[in-house]
Symmetry: C2
Subunit: 398 residues, 2 copies
C-alpha cells in the first residue's frame, strides 16, 4: 500500500497491502464542503433523536449508579441492557432469546470485525451480497479473506449462486442484511429467508445476519430473521445507532453459545468492554420510555423522505435511470444506463453541490460503475428537493 | 481449543486454538465472592473519581452540543480532546506533539489490538517485558505472533537480551510499560530509556510504549518517555482510565504519521469511531477543571496504600518473600521462595478470603510460578490491613 508509507520506512502486516483503496476519506472531505447537499453518507437524522429522554436517562444514571457508572465492568456487557434486548426480541418478533446469548459491542461494526477475527483465516471464503455493505467489506478485508459475492434476484440472494458457492468454496460464513440492505435498500422475501436457512443447514457455513434496519420498516411490521429458522448457525447483530443514537456506540450480537464464547474472548482482547456509562444510559432510557413511539416517528419521516426522493427521481432524472423500491431503512440505489459512469456523476455532482455515493466500493469483484447509493434519512424535504434538482442538472449536462 | 466447542460443530480461526488459556474468568468469579478482599484485580479506586466534576461536564455537553453529541463522528477522534492531550504532553513533559499525531481509541487496550493488527503477521516476533502485561499478551495472541520475552535487570529491559533479540529475531516491535509496569510495579531508569532508544534506532523494530501510569508517580515528577529519544520509531499510548474514569473507555495513541494512517484505517474497520459523547464529556471536564489537583490526591492515596502494603509484607510475611519497590502506579510484585507455588497461594488465599494474582499468565515462556501480583489501588487501608493478615495466615499454613 504505497500511499501508506511512500518512504517505505515502516513494515506493515500483509493485510494492509491487500486492503481495497478507501474512497471514504475523499467522500467525507467533499461532503463537508459548505453548501453541499449530501446523499452520500449514512447518518440517521439527529433531529429525530429523543434528546430530552436521553438527557433525563443520563441524569438518572448519575443519581442511581453514581461512581459505579464510571468504573470498569465485565466484557459481556451490562446485564440489564442485555435483558432489555432479549425482551425486545420477544415482544417484536416472538423470539425466545436469553440475555446470556447476547454480547454488547461498540456498534454493530465491531461485531463485523470480531466475527471475521474468530471465524476466518487468510484465503478463507466469506460470502457477501452483491452489492455488499462497505463497513463489512472493510472489516473483513483486514483478515485477508476471499470475498465471494452472491448476486441477488428479486427475493434476495440468488439460491443457485449460493448453492454453488457452498459446494465449491467451503465458505466460513455468509454475510447479509435481509432488512432494507445497505446499499441497495432491498429486503429479502420471507420465503427466501427460509430457503437460505435450508441451504445453509448442516453445512460448515454460518450466517452473519446484520439487522441494523429491522425496526425501520415503513409499514412498522417486523420481518422474521433467518436466525429464526436456523438459530444454531446464525449470528445476528443489532444496534441502537439507528433508533436511539449512534454516538453512544452500542450494538450487540446474538450467537450460538460456542461462537459467543469465542467472540467474548476476542472482545476482551480488543478493548476489555464497551462503554459502561452509555450502556447504563440506554438501559435507563429504554426502561423509562417506550422507544416505539419515537421509532414510529422515524419510520414515518424516513418513509416520506424515501417516497419524495423516488418521486423526484421519476420526475427529474432520465427514464433510463432505474431505482430500487425500499420498504424501510435509509438508502435506495440507482442504476444508470450503459454509457454513464458513477464516478463521473459523483464528480459532477460535487460541482453542482450534491454528493452521491458511487456504487464501486460495494462490489468486491469490480463493477458498480453504473450504480449510485442515495441516502434519504439525513436530509430534510427541502434538501431532498433541492438536491435532486441539482442531480437532475448533472444528468442534463452529460 | 477444545473448551470453546466440545461438540466440534464450529470451525474457528487457527488463532483461537493457540490462545493462552484464560485464567481471568476464574479470577473474576472467585474475586466476586462476598467477603473476599481482592488484591487480584487492577481497578482504580472509584471513590477518587471526580464524580461531581464529570457530572457537571456531562450537563455542559448536553447544553452546548445538544444532539450533535449523540451523532456519528470521524474516526480520528474529537479534535478538541486531541488538542487537550497534545497540550498536556507539552505542559507535563515539554513534548511538542500535534493533535494530528493522535488517534482516540476505546481505552488503550484497543491500541494494543490494532497495533498488532497493522504491524504483525503470524509468526512475526513481538518483544515483551518478562513479566509482561496480560492485556497485551491477550491482544497480541490473536495475531499468532511469536512472543519473545525480554528479562529485566534493575534499570529496565536487559540490554544484552534486547540486542540479541534485535539481531536474531527481526522483531516487528518491542512492547513495554516504562512507568510503573503492570504487573511488576517497576520503572525503567532514565538512562535505560535512552539506551533502549539507541539500540532500536535504525532497526526495523518499532516500540509500543504503554504509558498507562505516567501520571501516577508518587513523587508527582514526570519521567521522559522513550518516545522523546526516538519519535519516528515509537508509538505511545495513554489513557484516561486511571486518572479520570475507566467506564468512559477513552484512551489514545500517538504514532509516526505512516503508522497512524494505517492505525486509523484499522480503527475505522474495527468500530468506526470511539464514543463521541464520552469524548465530549472528557473535553468539557478537562477544560473546566484542572485534573492535576485530583490526580495528586490519587497519587498521595495510592502511595500511602502501597507503603502500607509493603510495611505489612515486611511485618507479616516470611523473610523469604521479597517484593518490588514501586515508585508509582497500582501494582507490586512478590517473589516467593523456591518451594512455594503461586497457584497454591491463590487457592488457599481464596479459602482465607483474600484474592491475589498468580504470576503465571504474565510469563509468555512459562515461569511465574513463584511470583504474585498485588494491586493496592482498589482497597482501603482497612482492607489492605485485613487482607494482608489473611495472606499472612495462608503463608503460616503452608
Amino acid at each position: 500500500m504505497a500511499d501508506l508509507d511512500p518512504t517505505r520506512r515502516y513494515r506493515f502486516s500483509p493485510c494492509m497491502h491487500t486492503l481495497p483503496a478507501s474512497f471514504l476519506d475523499e467522500l467525507f472531505r467533499v461532503s463537508a464542503v459548505p453548501g453541499i447537499i449530501s446523499f452520500a453518507g449514512g447518518l440517521p437524522d439527529a433531529s429525530l433523536f429523543d434528546f430530552e429522554g436521553i438527557r433525563r436517562a443520563t441524569d438518572a444514571v448519575f443519581e442511581e449508579h453514581e461512581r459505579s457508572a464510571l468504573q470498569y465492568t465485565t466484557t459481556d456487557g451490562y446485564r440489564p441492557l442485555r435483558e432489555i434486548i432479549a425482551r425486545r426480541y420477544y415482544t417484536r418478533l416472538g423470539l425466545q432469546i436469553s440475555p446470556d446469548e447476547i454480547q454488547i459491542v461498540n456498534g454493530s461494526q465491531q461485531a463485523l470485525d470480531l466475527t471475521a477475527k474468530i471465524l476466518s483465516c487468510p484465503k478463507d471464503t466469506i460470502l457477501i451480497e452483491r452489492p455488499g455493505y462497505l463497513g463489512a467489506i472493510e472489516a473483513f478485508s483486514f483478515y485477508c479473506p476471499r470475498l465471494q459475492p452472491i448476486p441477488p434476484d428479486e427475493e434476495g440472494p440468488c439460491l443457485d449462486a449460493l448453492k454453488t458457492a457452498l459446494i465449491s468454496d467451503d465458505p466460513v460464513f455468509l454475510y447479509g442484511i435481509p432488512n432494507s440492505q445497505n446499499p441497495s435498500g432491498c429486503t429479502w422475501s420471507q420465503s427466501r429467508r427460509k430457503e437460505v436457512a435450508e441451504l445453509l443447514e448442516g453445512t460448515g457455513c454460518l450466517m452473519y445476519e446484520d439487522d441494523a434496519f429491522g425496526e425501520l420498516f415503513f409499514d412498522g411490521k417486523p420481518r422474521q430473521p433467518v436466525m429464526r429458522h436456523l438459530p444454531d448457525q446464525v449470528m445476528m447483530s443489532g444496534s441502537f445507532s439507528k433508533v436511539v443514537a449512534p454516538g453512544l456506540r452500542i450494538g450487540w450480537i446474538r450467537a450460538p453459545a460456542p461462537v459467543l464464547a469465542a467472540f467474548n474472548r476476542a472482545k476482551q482482547a480488543a478493548d476489555l468492554h464497551s462503554n459502561l456509562f452509555s450502556q447504563m444510559i440506554l438501559t435507563e432510557y429504554l426502561t423509562r420510555y417506550n422507544p416505539d413511539e419515537r421509532i414510529s416517528v422515524m419510520r414515518r419521516e424516513y418513509s416520506e423522505r424515501c417516497h419524495l426522493m423516488i418521486d423526484l427521481i421519476e420526475d427529474l432524472l432520465p427514464d433510463s435511470v432505474s431505482h430500487t423500491h425500499p420498504v424501510g431503512g435509509m438508502f435506495l440505489m440507482l442504476t444508470l444506463p450503459d454509457q454513464m459512469h458513477s464516478m463521473e456523476i459523483f464528480k459532477k455532482g460535487i460541482q453542482e453541490g450534491v454528493a452521491v455515493m458511487p456504487g464501486v466500493p460495494f462490489y468486491v469483484d469490480g463493477g458498480g460503475t453504473r450504480t449510485l447509493r442515495l441516502n434519504f434519512s439525513a436530509s430534510s424535504h427541502e434538501q431532498i428537493t433541492e438536491g435532486m434538482q441539482r442531480l437532475a442538472r448533472v444528468f442534463q449536462g452529460l
